[in-house]
């Protein structure tokens, strides 16, 4: 018996290993090109020399690092780009899939690596990526290890771009080109939308009976910044209103369940508040808060607008036209809007047509709070509603995947 079980486990181990070995780089449903893991190491890129000389820019070029950069990408070797993230969950998968959409057009392959929630492993992965002959790294890096990660990346000589999360030094200044959101502004947009639209739902109400539940995450500087906007604007607009900050960390993390728990508790504890705005720092908070509102029977008295679309869109997709919901809007950032600048900027760096000092300098906002030493690509975003979301995503898809970019 024991021999059978041992043998079975050993076979399972081998099978899972070889099943994985059939490759690679992704778990997303999108077709993944097979990165040549065992291929001879490519020469150092970015700071170094690529195999072939960079392709000559065609007439009209003038937008290096943009998706519509008219350079002939097929005239060079296929670049190997690594996408390194602290974990590989729903969001990272979506971004990765969006990057893959541009592989043929920009002539690269992208492979995902993850630190499996460990900062030490995250740093080791940078060295592994360099060993594997990758040409550049798109780094979704926690601020806690940004300084060390940039040091390790510099040692490898590979070009790198900060993606989604800001990479800042001790003085809170950027250490490389970044593709990020204006975090404060995203949160601010959600509350502005609620303020601009609540009367169409409730008419004129007594704002002393209005409350805001600001669902935030204290342990992430980026997510924390998203929670400050709603607070500032709500308190300024409704000095007599009631503001509540609920930290998802106190309820188990960034999950719909945490949002459900916190929303239920806050509303139950404040019966004097009749009308509720709910904002959230992540998309996962929308469905959780909406479920709580539903259970409390407050659908007619609550309006939810959170940062992030994916989970909310899933909710909207599942509703019939008659379904009532308090989840009325969210701030959408199409994954393509994140992915397009990241991969095109990375290709320009690997080409050597841009350096970390020159990439996207024209895009960096003046007086950017995290400094102007490196280019910063502020990702576009828009408020979408249950009625407009399909149009929004169709338009973005058409812009990036059909018409060839903006």
């Amino acid at each position: 018996m024991k021999k059978c079980i041992s043998l079975l486990l050993a076979i399972t181990l081998c099978l899972s290993l070889f099943a994985c070995g059939t490759k690679t780089g992704t778990t997303t449903p999108t077709a993944t090109p097979t990165p040549d893991a065992g291929a001879p190491a490519a020469p150092p890129a970015g700071g170094g020399e690529p195999d072939a000389p960079p392709p000559p820019p065609v007439e009209g070029a003038g937008s290096v690092g943009y998706i519509d950069d008219p350079v002939d990408h097929s005239a060079r070797k296929t670049y190997k780009i690594a996408y390194l993230s602290p974990a590989f969950m729903f969001l990272q998968q979506s971004w990765f899939a969006a990057m893959q959409e541009f592989q043929d057009r920009l002539n690269f392959t992208v492979t995902s690596f993850t630190g499996e929630a460990g900062n030490d492993a995250y740093l080791q992965n940078i060295e592994i990526i360099a060993d594997q002959g990758f040409d550049g790294i798109i780094m979704d890096c926690e601020l806690a290890v940004a300084v060390r990660a940039s040091e390790v990346a510099e040692e490898t000589g590979l070009p790198y771009i900060a993606f989604v999360q800001s990479m800042l030094d001790d003085n809170m200044k950027t250490v490389c080109p970044q593709v990020v959101l204006d975090q404060y502004e995203t949160g601010a947009k959600t509350i502005r939308w609620l303020i601009a639209n609540y009367k169409s739902y409730w008419g004129d109400i007594d704002t002393s009976k209005l409350g805001l539940i600001d669902l935030g995450v204290s342990v992430s500087p980026d997510l924390w910044a998203r929670a400050i906007g709603p607070r500032d604007i709500f308190q300024e607009t409704f000095p007599d209103g009631h503001y509540f900050f609920d930290d998802a960390i106190s309820a188990g993390g960034i999950t719909p369940d945490a949002a459900y728990t916190l929303t239920t508790a806050t509303i139950s504890a404040n019966p004097n508040v009749e009308y509720w705005f709910i904002t959230g720092s992540t998309e996962f908070m929308g469905p959780g808060a909406a479920r709580a509102i539903d259970d409390l029977g407050k659908i007619d008295n609550a309006l939810i607008c959170v940062v992030g679309a994916g989970a909310n869109v899933v909710d909207w997709d599942s509703m019939t036209p008659d379904t009532k919901t308090s989840l009325v809007a969210c701030l959408a950032i199409s994954d393509l809007l994140y992915a397009a600048p990241a991969v095109s900027g990375m290709v320009a760096l690997i080409d050597g047509r841009a350096t970390k000092d020159t990439l996207w300098r024209d895009k960096t906002p003046a007086n950017y709070e995290f400094g102007n030493d490196y280019g910063v690509w502020m990702v576009e975003n828009d408020i979408i509603t249950r009625d407009t979301y399909k149009t929004y995503f169709d338009e973005i898809n058409a812009r990036y995947l059909e018409s060839g970019g903006h």
Binding site: S6, G38, N119, D120, I128, A144
Partner: protein, 325 residues
């Protein structure tokens, strides 16, 4: 005849099985990665990941041999990593380090008290303490990373001897040697095995299992604190994620390396090889570009394999004891 017996004994030893397993991991990944797996920088990456998990394993391994368990090592290490980073902002590093280690030992003593005085199961007591430590980590750090810029400390974390061998690896290797010798060559080491093998028998032999348990829990807290401080030095930052991610691999390595959940058996030679296998395995999956989800599946299967080996090894031991009796 003697040498044939010795050879047969070696082949029957768990260490031989582990070496075979390690060889399989090395060969399979080297072939699949077309040699990348064996690049010096990749080997350094594998060993680098042993720094933190290795120290945690030494602490929890001793406890497991003594028939106990500590599920709070990750949380204690993370708390101490944050506290160490905070201390460094206002005091000299030796004092900061000493205070950090004292905090780790104090939490270890709390675990020991809950287990030995209050009578909680180690599993429950240490899980509760882990939750407290995790909460305190957020309280002290406000959820934010704390930068570590003290030059000597960052050298310990990121520097290399002769520009090749990472300093932090040397620290862990030395710790492994010391603990392996302590277990195999000292009276206290034998005490740990005896307490883990049969607590009543140990008591009748004049050994105080409660005292041993206190020492081991405090030792575990101390090593967790050092691991946390070392990780802060390696990352140049105290983080709320900290060493938590290393706890699981450390415990898996302990079981794979021959330390039984039942206590009374195992040694750090096997654990060291176990760590090499696990880190090599995880690294190999990454080198091959295998998706994170499949990596988790494969790691889980490896843990199941370790547990199965542990189960049958315990069963065989019991049968032998039964036969002898």
């Amino acid at each position: 005849m003697e040498s044939a017996k010795g050879l047969k004994k070696f082949f029957n030893r768990k260490m031989f099985t582990l070496l075979i397993l390690l060889a399989v991991v090395v060969v399979v990944f080297s072939v699949l990665s077309k040699g990348t797996f064996l690049k010096p920088s990749n080997i350094r990456a594998i060993i680098n990941l042993m720094v933190v998990s290795g120290l945690l394993t030494l602490g929890v391994g001793c406890l497991m041999i003594a028939g106990s368990i500590d599920l709070s090592t990750g949380a204690i290490g993370t708390l101490c990593g944050i506290v160490f980073a905070l201390f460094l902002q206002s005091m000299a590093w030796p004092i900061a380090l000493i205070l950090t280690v004292i905090i780790g030992m104090a939490v270890g003593a709390l675990n020991a008290t809950l287990v030995n005085v209050v009578g909680f199961q180690p599993f429950i007591a240490t899980m509760a303490v882990a939750s407290v430590a995790k909460g305190l980590t957020n309280v002290f750090s406000n959820g934010q990373p704390i930068p570590v810029r003290e030059p000597f400390i960052t050298y310990i974390g990121t520097g290399r001897f002769f520009d090749v061998i990472p300093v932090s690896i040397v620290i862990t290797l030395v710790a492994f040697i010391i603990y392996a010798l302590m277990l195999s060559k000292t009276k206290f080491g034998r005490t740990i095995y005896l307490v883990g093998g049969n607590r009543e028998a140990a008591l009748f032999s004049g050994i105080n299992p409660v005292k041993t348990s206190y020492i081991l829990f405090i030792n575990c807290g101390m090593l967790s604190a050092i691991a946390g401080a070392l990780l802060s030095a390696r990352l140049k930052s105290g983080t709320v994620v900290g060493v938590s991610a290393s706890q699981f691999s450390g415990m898996t390595a302990s079981m794979l390396g021959g330390i039984s959940f039942g206590g009374g058996s195992g040694g750090f030679g096997g654990v060291f090889i176990g760590l090499l296998i696990i880190n090599g395995f995880n690294n190999g999956l990454t080198v091959l570009g295998i998706s994170a989800y499949w990596q988790t599946v494969a790691s889980g299967v490896l843990l199941l394999f370790a547990l199965t080996v542990d189960y049958f090894s315990m069963k065989r031991t019991r049968r032998k004891v039964g036969v002898a009796a």
